[in-house]
């Protein structure tokens, strides 16, 4: 069952994390930015599960449950904020959300 080396999982999750960070920095739609943040959290989850499985202790898997719960709460609040701003501006492009400067 453990025939795939641990490094493969770690490299995959590192790539996922990088894609998430790049998405936050590059994309301009608030919802896509939010999805990229979720990708970062999920890459961390993959790392947790990998280490948990290879170290043979369950703390990592327990932590994944906490991270998923928090991600759900964050999604509820975040989507509500995005809806509120869409109602006022009819746009969720973060370049147009710019009443504060300097």
């Amino acid at each position: 069952m453990l025939s795939i080396p641990m490094e493969y999982y770690l490299v995959l999750s590192a790539l996922m994390f990088t894609v998430g960070v790049a998405g936050v920095l590059i994309r301009r739609n608030a919802i896509v930015v939010f999805m990229s943040i979720e990708l970062m959290l999920n890459s961390a989850n993959l790392t947790f599960v990998t280490f948990s499985s290879y170290l043979g202790n369950s703390i990592g898997q327990i932590f994944v449950f906490f991270v998923m719960t928090v991600a759900a709460a964050e999604a509820a609040v975040g989507l509500a904020i995005i809806i509120a701003i869409f109602r006022n501006k009819l746009s969720v492009n973060i370049d147009e959300i710019n009443i504060f400067k300097w």
Binding site: F48, F63, F100
Partner: protein
């Protein structure tokens, strides 16, 4: 280690606050006057928890299998958080009607965020730190955007939410790497063998990601982009709580992490990281604040600079400088909430009267507010005998003891720069002629909060030893 039943008495602050949150929700559901009752319910809870924590300072134990610390440092932080929340609630009674966020949720969210901060400061396990951090942050995202019809509130909430959860992503991935290398989430297990782990590049990357995430939360340069916008856009009372108690909570975690490092292994790890953060934050925060005309935005940049002064203490990394940070945080809570309370009283409807021009000739209209604003500005600038001076003094002294004299000199230089924009407010209040006519609203709660903070700022400035001795005795 105390007997089993005794643990629950030491956890009383957390239990009282948790029950208080549920009770507040029930009051909101079953009574029509929830909005009028809840500020007083919250005040009583915060007052009880703050005083109780101060009384249990000397009972310092690790409980629940070493995941949670009660008493000692956690109790000092509980006191700071609850006094900050109490002052914020007093300020809010009149302010949230003016700001059109007269909802009961406001008080329930403040209680929940304080519970999150208390969980953070008591944590000795990364899971507990993470849960406390998220409980606090998510409540703050909602509080920042509570007036959903107002575009400035929406923008503040969106920026805070996106950058805050971006930082959370870094923290979680950092924790994952630390867990993978050490196989544990307990702070003690991680730091007992720190030197051995520190040869592992993944562990160092994990620690750096964790520290970067928390640098976002303490609002340090170069992770400060969200601070001015969020602090300006959110309701003034909320900004007061975010900039003081939120910062204190993030610092409590950094003190736990780096303080354990001090106990178990080399104290100078991460010194370079925090030196750079402190250097950039103090200078950039102070210099940009000079060009600000909006008082909330000016205080936001000054809050970045204050994060820098406290980061000098983290860079020094000795017992004395950690105690200095705790003192500084307490002093910062009082002077900053006092200043934000005055801003919230003077602020008109629809975010008018926030610029310096509105403060011109204030002493003729309201000598009390004028005198107290000057007091808080002197304290923030670090002029003795106010509390702010001794906060800086202890932190810089710790830096000099740790051979970081150059960093202390940078800190003093940037305090000198900051005197310019703090004293400019006083110049406007006393030496300029009134430019716009308006009536200042009467706010009983606000005036109470201002008087309390003013007294505490003076008390901490004139008798700094009383609080400092408490901190040095119980911080480890």
């Amino acid at each position: 280690m105390p007997a089993n039943n005794y643990e629950y008495f030491l956890l009383l602050p957390h239990i009282v606050l948790s029950v208080g949150i549920v009770l507040s929700i029930l009051i909101e559901i079953f009574t029509k006057k929830g909005k009028e009752i809840l500020p007083w319910v919250s005040s009583i809870i915060f007052l009880f928890v703050g005083v109780y924590s101060l009384l249990t300072l000397d009972k310092n134990f690790l409980i629940f299998g070493g995941t949670v610390e009660v008493g000692g440092k956690a109790a000092i932080f509980n006191f700071i958080f609850n006094i900050a929340a109490l002052l914020t609630v007093l300020t809010s009674i009149d302010y949230i009607k003016k700001y059109e966020i007269f909802y009961s949720e406001y008080y329930i969210l403040i209680q929940s965020s304080v519970l999150g901060m208390m969980v953070m400061s008591m944590a000795h396990d990364i899971i507990v730190i993470f849960m406390g951090l998220e409980l606090m942050s998510i409540c703050f995202y909602v509080l920042a955007g509570l007036n959903r019809k107002r575009l400035s509130n929406n923008e503040a909430a969106l920026k805070y939410f996106l950058l805050g959860s971006f930082a959370t992503g870094f923290i979680v991935y950092g924790i994952a790497l630390i867990y993978g290398i050490t196989g544990a989430t307990s702070i003690q297990n991680i730091f007992e063998n720190f030197i051995q782990y520190s040869n592992n590049i993944l562990f160092i990357v994990g620690m750096l990601l964790l520290l970067i995430g928390f640098s976002f939360k303490i609002a340090a340069v170069p992770f400060h982009m969200w601070v001015p916008d969020v602090y300006q856009g959110a309701a003034t009372s909320v900004t007061g709580l975010m900039s003081t108690a939120g910062k204190a909570a993030a610092f409590s975690v950094l003190i736990i992490v780096l303080g354990s490092n001090l106990t178990y292994s080399s104290p100078i790890a991460f010194r370079n990281y925090f030196s750079i953060i402190a250097l950039l934050s103090t200078l950039i925060g102070s210099i940009i604040a000079i060009s600000q005309n909006n008082l909330k935005r000016m205080l936001a940049y000054s809050s970045i600079a204050h994060a820098g002064y406290m980061a000098i203490g983290l860079a020094a990394g000795n017992k004395y400088s950690f105690a200095g940070i705790v003192f500084y945080l307490a002093a910062y809570v009082f002077m900053n909430i006092g200043a934000f309370t005055i801003i919230s009283i003077i602020e008109g409807k629809d975010e008018t009267r926030l610029t310096l021009d509105s403060y011109a000739g204030l002493y003729k209209k309201n000598p009390f507010l004028a005198a107290m604003m000057s007091l808080f500005m002197f304290a923030l600038a670090g002029i003795p005998p106010m509390a702010g001076f001794f906060g800086k003094y202890y932190v810089f002294f710790g830096a000099i003891q740790a051979d970081l004299t150059w960093l202390a000199i940078i800190g003093v230089l940037s305090s000198v720069i900051s005197v310019y924009f703090y004293l400019r407010v006083i110049v406007y209040i006393y030496f300029m002629n009134e430019t716009e006519k308006f009536d200042i609203e009467k706010s009983l709660g606000g005036n109470l909060a201002i008087s309390l903070t003013g007294l505490l700022v003076l008390f901490f400035g004139i008798f700094p030893d009383t609080f400092m001795n408490l901190i040095t005795n119980f911080i480890k």
